[in-house]
């Protein structure tokens, strides 16, 4: 009889498990609020984009997107837990619901947007794939790289661009696959490969960390478009809007000249767009399912896009990348956020 009893219990348990699986699909915003923190998929370590500093605090332009989302949702930019992901596992981690947003120098492509079941919600860095070599090799163009060994991170768009580029130009190469940025640095510095290729921003970031940065040159060719931006799971438009507009708020903040230092003063501004953005005119927060001061919190705690850029990757940081394409549209770049109304 005990056998039958335990069988019955097993049956009930298995039913319970399956209903539990079926029932775990609330809206992402509710799940995040209930959890009390944002789960953010970040890089395993890429200076300027997503990297823990000496004190163990995550920093970077991608990290700032997650902090902005946390500021918008909780009014506290520090309520984020970072999940370091390699380029290979990042989509699976997002699809499975382990993270709420993937902000990890990830290129927006059509297949990722559709086939992988993701939604890219904006671009926080316009990048392109470049090549870095040791200056002692005397190479001045990527077209001189025939026969070279190339270090490449697996599971990236750069891996496929590289194959296309070399095939198109009739050149051969040996691909040396690595998992992470730091493995690539190690293999490149040891001379396992002649060339390290990834997004140009990543090359500059790596180069800044090398013992003698001047011994390495980033070649002039940029062989691809790499719009990097945060992605969320497909199918929750509200959550996609929140993440997308957290980023937009930072860009609009720069447009309107609102910084973390002057945001309190700007609340008194007569500019109607500033009043809408900072929640002085009520109602816009509710449209997103947030409080009215959400954008105020973003700008107060994270700062506008220019502040984030300069702090992490700009000329003021040790990476030293110029704004270039990432300047506002009115300053000669292509950064352009939809109007806040």
């Amino acid at each position: 009889m005990t056998k039958i009893k335990s069988l019955l219990i097993a049956l009930l348990l298995s039913l319970g498990v399956s209903t539990a699986i079926a029932g775990s699909h609330g809206s992402t915003l509710d799940v995040v609020k209930e959890r009390g923190k944002l789960m953010c998929g970040s890089n395993t370590g890429l200076a300027g984009f997503g990297n823990p500093n000496d004190a163990g605090v995550w920093e970077g332009i991608d990290v700032d997107v997650c902090r902005a989302v946390a500021a918008a949702v909780f009014g506290d930019a520090s309520k984020v837990e970072y999940v370091p992901t390699t380029s290979k596992v990042r989509f699976t981690v997002l699809q499975s619901g382990e993270i709420d947003v993937l902000s990890r120098n990830t290129t927006w492509t059509v297949s990722r947007d559709s086939d992988l079941g993701l939604d890219f919600v904006g671009v926080n860095y316009y990048d392109g794939q470049g090549f870095m070599v040791k200056s002692s090799l005397g190479v001045s163009s990527a077209l001189d790289l025939d026969g070279a060994s190339v270090c490449i991170q697996v599971g990236t768009t750069t891996e496929m661009n590289l194959a296309d580029y070399f095939t198109f130009h009739g050149m051969s190469y040996e691909s040396v696959p690595v998992e992470t940025n730091s493995e690539a640095d190690a293999a490149y510095l040891a001379g396992r490969c002649d060339v390290y290729t990834t997004d140009a921003s990543g090359l500059w970031a790596s180069r800044a960390g090398y013992p003698n940065p001047s011994e390495h040159v980033v070649l002039p060719e940029i062989i691809s478009k790499e719009p990097l931006g945060p992605a969320v799971r497909h199918g929750d438009s509200q959550w996609a809007d929140i993440v997308g507009w957290s980023l937009n708020a930072m860009i609009i903040g720069e447009e309107l000249g609102i910084t973390s230092a002057n945001v309190d003063d700007m609340k008194g501004s007569a500019n109607p767009e500033v009043k809408r953005l900072l929640g002085v005119d009520a109602g816009y927060g509710a449209m997103l399912g947030l409080s009215d001061d959400w954008a105020y919190n973003v700008l107060k705690q994270v700062g506008n896009y220019a502040e984030s850029f300069e702090r992490n990757v700009g000329m003021g940081s040790n990476i030293g990348i110029a704004r270039g394409l990432n300047a506002l549209y009115k300053d000669g770049g292509i950064l352009y956020a939809p109007p806040f109304r």
Binding site: K3, D115, D146, G147, A148, S175, E179, G191, R192
Partner: protein, 389 residues
């Protein structure tokens, strides 16, 4: 009647156990059904495509370590075969090396030489108690610290050792090479019959012949003879440093060597213990008896001890081969392009078909393991006691 049926189920042991077993299978099938159903539902709900059509799409990435040609325009299916062959390559080479090393160390551990015995002991205890992944990474890091390509170590002419691999000349057969191959096959067949004949003579006359020596001479001498007679029909394509890398010749990559050293040195430690226990399991009387008959030490080992020890050694040896094969999936850590790295990693990432690809990869490992088991079981049967005991 109805009452009788219920009584039977409750009180008749056979009917009762039948009912319980049916129920268990039913519940198990139900759980599987729920899991499959739920997965399909979740995939669909999240807008993730599924299916096996991706296998015919072009892969878009390159694999450098490969046994068959592969370009980025080939399909994911071909990437699968490239990975499968690399997995088999490392498994076969690894098992081969591990077996030789394992037998050697196992026998040394039983030797009476204090120094050798203890070196072998330290080796076994160290390697089998450190995770194999760490050992693989260690050997790979050492290989990466070999000289860079421009400062290659020259071993003999045209053999170069660098941190990009071991470059060596590759043989290119010319016209007439077929004759050399044919002579080799002939020599092997001839040596088989020679062995049979000499064994028979030994049985009838009692005279012993150096069969091994005679046969190896035969197998080496005949092809070499024909090689020179046909005018040396092999050309060597030498590696030449041109631009960034060596062009021509063959190369063994450090990723492969790292895996080979890591897996075989680790597994050999376990095999040596198996061999040791196998030899110890042969009773002392056997050794003493064969010595009393006047057999020399190496003959005692070869004719008396090893054949009996094999009965104990083979089953655990099989599981070591299986372990090595499965551990080859650690190639992912150092970029060895095995099945898990290329198809199970990059293809998975590019197409997002995690469930499909993982199922294919798992079934592949299962098949490889089962095939190894089948062959080892056949071999095991052949070394077991024959007779009517």
């Amino acid at each position: 009647m109805k009452n009788n049926f219920i009584r039977k189920i409750i009180f008749d042991e056979r009917s009762r156990s039948l009912l319980i077993q049916t129920l268990t299978i039913g519940i198990f099938a139900f759980i599987i059904y729920i899991l499959v159903q739920q997965t399909a539902y979740n995939l669909d709900k999240r807008g993730i495509s599924s299916g096996f059509d991706f296998l015919n799409m072009s892969a878009g990435y390159d694999i450098s370590i490969r046994l068959i040609s592969f370009t980025s325009e080939d399909t994911h299916l071909r990437a699968y075969f490239v990975g499968l062959l690399n997995t088999l390559l490392i498994a076969i080479c690894g098992c081969f090396l591990a077996t030789i090393l394992g037998f050697l160390v196992g026998i040394i551990r039983l030797s009476s030489n204090w120094l050798f015995k203890n070196i072998a002991y330290v080796y076994v205890e160290f390697t089998r108690n450190v995770p194999v992944l760490l050992q693989i990474i260690l050997y790979y890091s050492i290989l990466l610290h070999l000289p860079q390509i421009k400062q290659a170590i020259v071993l003999l002419d045209n053999f170069y050792l660098t941190n990009r691999g071991f470059f060596m000349p590759s043989p290119v057969p010319k016209e007439g090479f077929g004759i050399v191959i044919a002579s080799l096959i002939f020599a092997i067949i001839a040596s088989y019959f020679l062995k049979k004949y000499l064994k028979k003579r030994q049985e009838t006359t009692g005279r012993q012949y150096p069969i091994f020596l005679m046969n190896s001479t035969l197998i080496i001498f005949i092809p070499v003879f024909f090689y020179y007679i046909t005018g040396m029909p092999i050309e060597f394509d030498n590696p030449v440093l041109k631009g960034f890398n060596f062009k021509g010749g063959m190369v063994v990559r450090p990723e492969f060597l790292g895996m080979l050293f890591g897996l075989s040195i680790y597994t050999a430690a376990f095999i040596s213990e198996t061999v040791r226990s196998g030899i110890i399991s042969v009773s002392k009387g056997q050794r003493e008896a064969s010595k009393a008959l006047g057999l020399k030490n190496n003959l005692v080992m070869r004719l008396v001890i090893i054949p009996q020890a094999l009965r104990v050694i083979i089953p655990p040896l099989t599981s070591q081969y299986l372990n090595l094969t499965k551990n080859s999936s650690l190639g992912i850590a150092i970029g060895y392009a095995d099945l898990v790295h290329g198809f199970g990693g990059i293809s998975l990432n590019q197409t997002g078909r995690a469930i499909e690809i993982m199922m294919i990869v798992m079934l592949t490992y299962l098949s490889i393991s089962l095939i190894i088991s089948i062959f080892m079981n056949i071999y095991n049967k052949s070394v077991q006691f024959k007779g009517n005991a």
